[in-house]
């Protein structure tokens, strides 16, 4: 895993209300961080693989997503797929700093180099 991405994910995503975050690179390797026991790392890795398939299914129906937002009663799961195949997943609690920062994080994610 690219050191820049690893460092960015470990530090950049920490905010009040962030349950966990993860990234899946084009070669299918995953890195994830849990900031809350409700959101274990293994779960995030599984979510990344699962949502990678969902993204492909949507693209097959002419719905290639730039962002997916799964809204639940007590939180949201965001997925941002990049054109190179890299994915960012963020799990946040509603109405928190983390939820408000999602767009800014996504912008940074799209500008990062994931080629390593």
């Amino acid at each position: 895993m690219n050191d820049t991405l690893q460092e960015w994910l470990a530090t950049g995503a920490i905010a009040s209300g962030m349950l966990g975050c993860g990234m899946r690179l084009p070669d299918a390797t995953c890195l994830s961080y849990s900031f809350n026991e409700l959101c274990p790392r293994e779960g995030l890795d599984q979510i990344l693989h699962q949502l990678a398939e969902t993204t492909a299914t949507l693209a097959g129906q002419g719905l290639a997503p730039r962002r997916l937002t799964w809204t639940f009663e007590q939180g949201q799961i965001f997925l941002f797929p990049r054109p190179d195949g890299a994915l960012l997943v963020l799990a946040t609690q509603p109405n928190t700093e983390a939820a408000e920062n999602v767009d800014a994080l996504a912008e940074e994610f799209f500008s990062l180099n994931a080629s390593h």
Binding site: G20, I47, T57, Q61, P65, R67, T69, T71, F72, N95
Partner: protein, 355 residues
């Protein structure tokens, strides 16, 4: 000369003869000539009596041999659906209460142990027997409940007026042949009013027979209006939380900006699909491939269930799909699945509005 007052016919059903005798004496004196009291000691006797005499209110015990009170209520519901029913029991439990109310009992009362208790029961029964049901029905508004009522009316292509109110606001939604044609809430009309009503955190509603509204202020598809109302409500709750902090008082949300945006969006729906929870299409509009979309919705349902197991975030509400030049929303519930896609023009408007 005054017309004689209506005499109400009350039927008490209880296997306890002593209790019936006490009721007979006490209520006959309290009810004077207004109440005519009939007493029987079993449900089958009650059913026989109901064949030959018009009864206004049946008051039944629960624990009776042969046919208990709950079964008796069940039979009455089918044979005499308009008959008012109350239950009185010496052994009141929450299970019995729920079962009796579910079988149509309007009152569930514990047997009294004092003359004061009997007097209280007399007052309750008098209130019930003189109560005239209003046309339409009444309910308590919860977040999902109100949307469900509107959806039920629209899917059933019904015509009705939904009156919604709480302490801060009162308004009406007019539904004609399954289309939402007008809404008013306070000074607002149209979609602004509709979204404001659907944003109410709590309140009550009544469904009234349809009358023509003073004007027709809504022309959008009801599916989209409901989806947008959910989004507007979420946005206004979030805006309130960030603007006022957690101690802010609940109340109707200032929905001007969101409502204007939603009104613009409503005009630019590109695709709508509604299907049952089992995937049977109920309504499709400009859907390029209905079966593929149904498969997609079923996939969303499976993924949502799987996500819920991986991170416990409560019930799933919806999936929003941001596309390059449009936005789609997929909502999956037990009894229905909805997919709506909005065109690029409205997305531009949305971005401009947010800026």
């Amino acid at each position: 000369m005054n017309a004689p007052a209506k005499q109400y016919q009350l039927l008490f059903v209880d296997d306890d003869g002593d209790f019936l005798a006490m009721i007979q004496d006490f209520f006959a004196s309290l009810g004077e000539k207004i109440w005519q009291i009939h007493c029987v000691t079993s449900a089958d006797q009650a059913l026989e009596l109901l064949k030959v005499r018009k009864i206004d209110l049946v008051v039944s015990d629960v624990n009776m041999p042969m046919l208990d009170g709950i079964q008796f209520l069940h039979i009455l519901n089918r044979s005499h659906p308009d008959l008012k029913k109350a239950v009185i029991t010496a052994n009141a439990t929450e299970e019995k209460r729920s079962a009796c109310l579910a079988e149509g009992a309007e009152l569930f009362i514990e047997k009294p142990r004092s003359p004061e208790g009997l007097r209280s029961i007399f007052i309750m029964l008098e209130e019930l027997i003189t109560w005239t049901p209003r046309e339409g029905f009444q309910g308590v508004l919860r977040r999902v409940g109100l949307q469900d009522v509107i959806q039920m009316e629209c899917l059933g292509r019904n015509s009705s007026i939904l009156e919604i109110h709480n302490q801060q606001l009162r308004g009406r939604v007019y539904i004609e042949d399954g289309r939402i044609i007008h809404a008013q809430a306070g000074d607002r009309v149209g979609e602004n009013a509709f979204y404001e009503l659907l944003s109410l955190p709590s309140g009550e509603f009544q469904l009234h027979p349809f009358e023509l509204p003073p004007k027709r202020s809504i022309d959008g598809q009801w599916e989209f209006l409901l989806m947008e109302s959910a989004r507007v409500r979420d946005e206004t709750i979030a805006a309130q939380a960030s603007a006022n902090g957690p101690a802010s008082a609940p109340g109707p949300a200032p929905a001007d900006k969101s409502s204007a945006l939603a009104a613009d969006l409503a005009a630019q729906v590109e695709e709508t699909l509604i299907c049952s929870g089992q995937g049977e299409p109920l309504y499709a509009w400009q859907c390029p491939n209905t079966s593929a979309r149904i498969t997609l919705l079923q996939n969303v349902a499976q993924q949502a269930a799987s996500l819920s197991q991986l991170i416990p975030l409560g019930n799933f509400d919806r999936l929003e799909i941001q596309l390059a030049d449009s936005r789609a929303v997929a909502q999956v519930k037990t009894d229905r699945m909805v997919f709506v896609r909005v065109s690029s023009g409205s997305e531009k408007t949305a971005r401009q509005s947010n800026e």
